[in-house]
Symmetry: C2
Subunit: 206 residues, 2 copies
């Protein structure tokens, strides 16, 4: 079985070396200077021509995908584990905080993540969907337990996480966490007493 060796093509040795170097330098540069850092400079730091960088990663997004893919999938897995948390709401909160920390890895990453989830052609799309699905499961459990409002959606949670991360970058990390906390409290059923009606989302054209 599997004698056809469908995708056996290995990367050439020098190519693989450059690929790794680029990833390493990009991770360092993005962590220090944010996700908008010059690709040209990253290539320079990695000791390759910029054409080589573009050869491996045609877009900035492709580079971010290579850096983020695993992290995103790990986050989805964490979500699955938290489905067994004592309190459904606590599980949700713990996960949301982890997700926010994750977005904060590179300054400016939030915008990419928000766009990737809606852009099917994005290389981060699948990973974002997995994260969204993990959020939905946690949300569903909390909903069933009567701990969050029935009208809270996974995109609401996703938007809250990224928006709070954004706010944290703009002013200070604790400010971001406060925002996340307020938002999550706003999700709670206990707030529903005199709760405000929510604007409807226009259903995205399929």
């Amino acid at each position: 079985m599997n004698a056809g060796t469908p995708p056996p093509r290995r990367m050439r040795a020098d190519a693989h070396r450059n690929y790794q170097r680029l990833l390493t330098e990009a991770a360092a540069a993005f962590a220090e200077h944010g996700a908008d850092f010059s690709l040209e400079a990253i290539a320079r730091r990695a000791g390759v021509a910029n054409g080589t960088l573009y050869g491996h990663f045609p877009t900035r997004r492709a580079l971010l995908e290579a850096l983020m893919g695993d992290r995103m999938r790990a986050l989805a897995a964490t979500g699955a584990e938290l489905l067994t948390a004592r309190s459904p709401f606590d599980g949700l909160v713990t996960w949301a905080r982890a997700a926010m920390a994750h977005t904060t890895i590179y300054r400016g990453l939030g915008a990419t993540l928000m766009q990737a989830v809606e852009d099917e052609s994005s290389e981060l799309h699948a990973a974002c969907k997995a994260v969204l699905a993990a959020g939905e499961k946690l949300l569903a459990r909390a909903r069933t337990a009567g701990e969050v409002r029935p009208d809270v959606t996974a995109p609401d949670l996703y938007a809250l996480i990224n928006a709070a991360a954004w706010a944290g970058e703009q002013s200070s990390p604790p400010q971001g966490e406060r925002l996340l906390t307020f938002g999550l409290n706003g999700f709670r059923t206990s707030a529903t007493d005199q709760a405000l009606p929510l604007p409807k989302l226009t259903p995205a054209p399929k």
Copy 2:
């Protein structure tokens, strides 16, 4: 009195004309393409050399200040009016929505607004402070009425407004409004029953 005529220097006629044209074109371009639109292109559209634009507005921020100053002050005034709303919380909500709509005028404006409030050298600083003060008054009234948690601060409100506007730009306007709504609900006292503790803000160095 006032015989010294401290700042009587009027702008030269041609300068004034160019200044106005630049403002007009910038407003149109920012509204259509966002606050990051090319200044070079704005100068072109206004029929002046780019050096002229930089002569009038040394930075993009200076241009935004000229465009936003009045609007910001108007927003602060609206806040003062809403202090007489029947329900303190409703007044707060109404104002927060107006503030968010205001941030949404130019895509990408939120980041500038978030930074301006902390940067004393920003030309938008005073206007931001006025907006913050208006928010604080509405918040204080709602706090006194027992409608919002005692630990909600004006910066929380300001961050929520801008973060919700950001989210709205990233995905869709209604998503932004939903986020604002959840956040405001999270401010409410009714959510305090089982409320989460808030992370403390590290006091900004005076």
